[in-house]
Symmetry: D2
Subunit: 390 residues, 4 copies
């Protein structure tokens, strides 16, 4: 079964089970850039739930949105926050239009959930309208970056936990190797003696610095432009809305968001994404260095440094393969029960991504439409981190 | 139901329906880098079919592989080439170990298909062995880059077709706009008059140059190191194998592959990927320039250049949105039937990806293990191109 | 006249007037990388004066360096700090060996100044030795990064002053243009009205954020590894030297330096340079955006936006050139006395360098030998800033 | 003594000995971007001599430029080609305005030389005018890129000679080391045996490929837009000028230049610079890999690979430094007379620059004003190459 929806450009047919609507469908048809739908980053969907809920609460309080409609919207948002309907976010991750398709995807899914909760059918937008009610007093230019920042904050939390676990693993090994004497090198030449523990301790220290730096950037993400509307003049928002919606968002998430002082500036300001990208690159550079060091220390066994052994986790492709392939070891997880000279595999999952340290965030300076990539990048990191916690 | 497979590191349980085996499973568990499985690039799977078939044919001819086993392998490869079993390629696109997991994924899927065709059960590797038979006389270090280059060549073909379609669209519009006079600008300042047709003609010319340059790089991809084995000394390959396998691969694909003269060099040479990346960046830079120009020419309508109109393809998110959003137009496809002053939408799909022109190929210089990214990049382009051809 | 000096590799002839010695000469002959001598960054020479003075003071206090020799070294350092002898720093800015040539250049120049102050001739290193006295208890691996960080801090000060001047200029213009109404745009399309003052105010706000962010990075530069020696084990330094030398350096410069807690880590940690580079890129991205906006607003006059006028500062090359070329305006300096609708030229000097925002700091991960580029980059900025202050 | 010159913006005082004039002085005052004057790249000055001579010859033949004036201009250009007056090119290497200041610097120096040759004083532009005579029928937008391409071609010649010398050095060592057996490694792990000669041979082969690829790009640089004038419509050039000036330029330089078929396209086409940059990056990546390999093979002596010895070329900074520092060896030149296991120093000078392989050419897509950086980069390479040829 299918239903028909209509917008200013005409009619389109939708599968009856779809909670998204005609504008989402247009966005899906217009943009095939990454092939990766927004649903692949659940934190981003959840973040839209929070932002749209805060907006509805503020608009209801300010008397510009009917309380019955507002409460239906809020109920729908709660379901997004709880993780429902994620598969309805079918818009491609990268798109033109500053994220309009993404915003409309959220507006339509929320509207249709609200409609059903009020006893209406999907698509009966005369009762709850995606543009006029769910998106009331909002612009893609304020809700998209606000949701995006919230999603980055949520994603950074798991990333920081993984870095802290790695730091702890290095410090633990550092104790184990405290009295293992080895050659210290400069320029790969024999220099002066040191302990293997000192080397591992240095890696732990340096991870700690990354956690500190990334935490600083995370705080910068808490400045938002909710209520700025199209160009930062708050022209379509109710008086008092920006501050009130921001307070609701802080309350809902437990994250202390701050409304930017200059909303015109904030609406085109993508500096924090450039900075976050720079900081992730910094962390990647360090992880790469550590992994290269480990690979070098594990070189050999006869014609190499052979200072540490790495656990075998995968055979080679040759029939008679008996050689070690340290690149493959980098997939392993921590095994504290193993030989003290084996490297904890927390390093492992990290390394895989380290090669990406050259990736650069694309910032479209004209549109203030950027940032998708760090989220994507963080998401990829997440994949790499998972086994660390298992 | 599940079956048990065993390798040098121990046993693992596999779903009975899986055509991949124990080593693929280890690879899948060890590497979670992009979350994108190899199956998402069907050309790469197909390319492995071609390479493994050429290898089996050569080994059979040289008498180092039993003809019955070889023919079963060849039959399995034909099914990969035909597009079957793509979903069995579960290995992550980026991994450690120079692509060993990918190579083993191919070896295991092919072995199990061959086993079934010979009346054996999956996993009975004593009859057809992934390492000893399917991978005979091969190393990941030669089959992976050979398959990768073939996949890039196949992918480039569809990309070049899209660029040629775009070129033709620009030339057609150039004729339409031959007598539309407009201001020519330097530094965005009014300079001297020109026709809109001259501007479109320039865009067509410049696309033609990209096609020419990319075709030159495509030819460079035809130099392969098949038969080089681990470090380029052909140590585990039968005498005569490199040349014979290369000839078979050329015959099978209709692409004139050339065996590198210095196999040691070729095995660590990633220059062509850097060059391809540079050329894609060049094309992206031009597409970005064209799209920025179009966006500028379409600015307005009252307070902008307003020299061309772009078709509306998506409404905005505001309830009362009547403004045009040219970024969204860039999703549109060619509409030759429309007003002559509308821009053919072939531009459209191109633009979406143009923002990626900063992407840099990661080249792991120690391992000669690189190149995954251009394929991925091309794949993304493919998504963008599709509607152009529809 | 020439004198002969000798080191472990043999003899070399030096011009008698040279204060540098045989090892500097070898470095100069061995490295021709940028063609830019260290003397082109006077802050870096000055920074070496401070670091070598602090080292000599600490070594004298700890009784490991003869007081007479130490005081002669200190006197020589004071001359470097005062700006003397800058032309004696002939080493190329980029080199192999983690900066050994640079460090030896400083050691030799200081030794020869000290020798003369004690009544000896240049080259009589038996009295004051570049390695054994000036470099006592030091390694290139600690003094080079310490001096480098100090030089960056000094250079950042002038850069931050320029950004603050730019911010003030934007805010001043913002007041002037408070009531100039204009079209606000999204995606270059007419959207909603705003004032030109709001636009300039946004640029001022965003510059203020850059100042805040760069000030945070500057603080990170204050963590140093003075006394770490070759690999961070302080093996050749006197007990207590690291803390004492750090304290002296803070006293001499008025900058609160902090000795790193983990000297092994700190000796290979280049994270702050990656971060500084990221932050400069962030600032560059914003300056580029602003300059692109200004260029766009000044487009026309008849066939463009034509919202602001820029002062003419250079004619074109055509005999009859009457067209405006806004790129050339970006060289202009502030002219507060001019027509209120002219843009303060502080913007100008900034823009020239904005194109460089893609430059990436090269980090040599094996050696911890990096960072020359940000200094160089800052130096270039300095050229651009100078006129702003005139 | 000083003279006064006047342009459309007013009067300026010039030192009497200056051959450049008022507009060069404005350019010098307006742009302080790199601090590196155009005179630091003599090939660029020489290239302007060739281009301006070809233009004058064509304009004389076409009867649009008085023969007496034309011949005086031609005589002045011959002196530039011969290397005279280089120090008069004071314009900063990077500037706004598509290179107008550079073009005017050339026009004014040529005009003043021509004036003196005709018995007039510098500045008497009524007899030979920089804009109306020297720049007749030209625009910065055609002469600058034409001169720039010629300069790149000239510079590439010396670079290619250096790469060929390096290739020959590797092949020679390959013969010497033909029977030196060593471990072949994959992933830094012991794999299968090979000869040291095979390794050096691979490096020679790979250098040969770079020479081939760069020669291909050099040919692309031969397409020029001479005569296109401001936007490619040849509006201010005499009929027949583009083809005739191109033929003269080919005759003068012995390089087969080709006039672009679509001058509108060619005037904004910067593709070849992006491609050249990509190719230089490719070469840099290979040089970096080779130098990293050499550094690794030279690691030790006791706790490293220790497969090759590198000659000592510089002591360390420590008083008791006896350690080897291979980074410093990379400054050394070829010493064919030395121990066969020492690496030819041609490698050396190359390596120093290899770290720069991340530099990216800035392409200003709006202005077609780019390319300065590759020249600068090549220039830096030149510094590095020089000793190779000594």
């Amino acid at each position: 079964m299918a239903r028909i929806e209509r917008d200013s450009l005409g009619e389109k047919e939708l599968p009856d089970i779809a909670y998204y609507g005609v504008q989402t469908l247009r966005g899906k048809e217009n943009f095939h850039i990454t092939g990766i739908p927004m649903s692949s980053e659940p934190y981003f969907v959840k973040a839209f739930g929070y932002v749209k809920k805060a907006a509805a609460q503020a608009n209801r309080d300010l008397g510009v949105l009917d309380a019955g409609i507002a409460n239906a919207i809020i109920g729908a948002c709660d379901r997004l926050i709880a993780g429902e309907m994620c598969d309805q976010f079918v818009t491609d991750f990268i798109q033109g239009g500053a994220g309009t398709s993404t915003n409309m995807n959220a507006n339509e899914v929320i509207a249709n959930m609200a409609l059903e909760s009020l006893g209406h059918a999907k698509g009966e937008y005369q009762y709850v309208n995606p543009n006029d009610h769910v998106n009331y007093g909002q612009s893609t230019n304020d809700v998209y970056p606000t949701a995006f920042r919230l999603a980055l904050i949520l994603r950074l939390e798991s990333y920081l936990l993984a870095l802290q676990a790695l730091q702890a693993a290095f410090f633990a090994k550092s104790k184990d190797f405290e009295r293992v004497l080895k050659m210290g090198r400069t320029h790969l030449q024999d220099a002066v003696p040191m302990s293997l523990g000192q080397e591992f301790n240095g890696w732990g220290t340096t991870m700690g610095e990354e956690v500190a730096r990334l935490s600083e950037v995370r705080r910068l993400l808490q400045e938002i432009n909710l209520g700025a509307t199209a160009i930062g003049t708050s022209v379509t928002a109710a008086s008092g809305y920006p501050a009130l919606a921001t307070r609701y968002l802080s309350d809902l998430t437990g994250i202390e968001f701050e409304l930017a002082g200059d909303l015109v500036e904030a609406t085109s300001d993508t500096g924090v994404y450039v900075q976050l990208s720079g900081n992730l690159k910094r962390t990647s550079a360090k992880l790469t260095k550590i992994c290269n060091d480990i690979r070098l220390l594990a070189s050999g066994p006869r014609c190499g440094f052979n200072e540490i052994n790495l656990p075998q986790i995968q055979p080679g492709s040759s029939g008679d393969s008996r050689g070690r392939q340290p690149d493959q070891f980098f997939g392993d997880r921590a095994r504290p029960d193993r030989d003290a000279r084996r490297v904890g595999g927390a390093v492992a999952t990290q390394r895989d991504g380290a090669g990406h340290h050259l990736c650069i965030v694309h910032v479209d300076l004209h549109d203030g439409k950027c940032g998708q990539q760090p989220a994507h990048k963080l998401r990829r990191w997440h994949y790499r981190q998972r086994r660390t916690h298992s």
